[in-house]
Symmetry: C2
Subunit: 291 residues, 2 copies
């Protein structure tokens, strides 16, 4: 593989929040880099062309052939189908990077591609409650982790090029095996979403829909429930494509909640204090508070 | 009661995050308004004096006598004790406002005060992961809800004055009965804290302490776990002073989580989609997404 990811041509499949933000970040760094996109929605492509985010757009995915680096920014389930059905028509030497949030099924479909293609799994840990190219921004990936999950056959030099590419977007590359990735995000990314959904659903049961629209929510509630506002189809795909790890994480989460409930019900305030203190110290290891 | 809360003298008991921020907000609006504070920690008072946040400081709570409006910004449990043991020494006509996060026990202690005193329950929905006067800021309450829970005997004119006062701090006053307040915050404020704690504890079980310190967390996880970083003693008091509503909320929350788990385990993806969609639409009623 010989590719220079600081200047190669890029083809983006799916010009939504992620795809659009990648295009913007690339053009912001170097407006001469060739960036094309394929999207089923012509008005999305028109928006991209009008704002100088892409040089060419097409509603036919096959038109991306010729780009040195192809980025798959469509929903996870579609990524697997595209890899199975369309990737093999690409010219030899094409490098492929995806952006799906669970990696085992995708990397396994990548393993089946002919050796002339160079696919690597990718997962930017960045998102928003709103989707589509109108929500895209060139700074979306700034400071965010960007997982890269190489295949057994991925050459070290290609992996280094993709780390450079991710860094260009403003993100921090993290190389990890697909299975380990899925276990990690099951707990750190998919579980928080389901916790947030449970929170909102519980609130409806507790205080009723009428009260919910009154403006008495703290910034704490706003933060804790933010993920529940995420796109439903994307979130559903995220959960079902990582079902084993997500259920394991949710089960563990409910176990922890049950044990807090027991401490509260038995008025074991010393025991409760210990758990709250332990959680606080763990949270400070995860991310030290910023003053 | 005759008080003009736009200019009356204010005595603050407990010059921490909340008390300090109130002092700062008052002085920022009118540096001539007399603001005094009592705190057991002399260095806190020195800090307040040095930064022009208070005019006088004392380590003796009794020295606040003489202030037209006394604000109780000490931990909830201490507020009840102070009301039972010290409030009755205050001069007739003193208005008292507290800032504890659960209101029934406090308002009930307030009901027992002599009719010459004018206590009203208060609860600013603002906070931070860090505490103490060094964390205080004059904008802490800007845009935040500030509950006021009047007593049966509270004159309407006094309530209006306190609404004006809260507005001066930048907050939105919300008048509600103490019991209704506690039910609402049990679900909307105390529950999110326990959900956040469960999340962090579950993560430790799932991926272990060593991995937790690796920088692979999304902004989603950061938001969902932020409340777990809160002060332990304050959070414990918050849970135990509202134990009935908090346990009811936590039980409902776990029930919702169990039902999501069942949908995942039975691969009922249509049912799961329905719940995720419902949560998303509820979240949009709670707080419309800001673009």
């Amino acid at each position: 593989v010989s590719i220079d990811t600081t200047r190669c041509s890029v083809g983006i499949l799916g010009l939504g929040l992620i795809g659009g933000s990648i295009a913007m970040a690339l053009k912001a760094r170097d407006r001469h880099r060739p960036v094309m996109a394929a999207d089923r929605d012509q008005s999305t492509l028109d928006y991209g062309l009008k704002h100088g985010v892409i040089d060419r757009g097409s509603t036919l995915p096959g038109d991306l052939a010729g780009a040195e680096l192809i980025i798959l920014a469509i929903p996870s389930g579609h990524i697997v189908k595209w890899l199975e059905q369309q990737a093999c028509t690409l010219p030899p030497g094409t490098v492929i990077l995806d952006t799906g949030s669970a990696k085992r099924a995708i990397v396994s479909a990548m393993e089946n591609l002919p050796p002339s293609l160079h696919p690597v799994g990718g997962h930017p840990m960045a998102g928003k409650e709103i989707s589509g190219i109108v929500a895209a921004e060139e700074t979306l990936f700034r400071g965010a982790p960007f997982f890269l999950t190489p295949l057994a056959r991925t050459p070290a030099a290609l992996l280094r090029e993709l780390e450079r590419f991710v860094t260009l977007l403003g993100a921090h590359p993290l190389v990890v095996e697909a299975g380990a990735h899925d276990a990690m995000v099951g707990g750190s990314s998919h579980l928080p979403y389901l916790a947030s959904v449970s929170l909102v659903l519980a609130l409806e049961e507790m205080i009723g829909k009428a009260l919910i629209s009154r403006p008495f929510f703290s910034s704490g509630f706003r933060d804790a429930s933010r993920l529940a506002a995420g796109d439903v189809e994307m979130s559903l795909a995220m959960c079902t494509s990582n079902r084993d790890h997500v259920t394991r994480a949710l089960r563990e989460f409910l176990k922890q909640g049950e044990s807090l409930l027991a401490l509260l019900e038995h008025e074991d305030d010393g025991g409760l204090r210990e758990r709250l203190g332990h959680a606080r110290s763990l949270r400070s290891i995860i991310l030290p508070p910023r003053v």
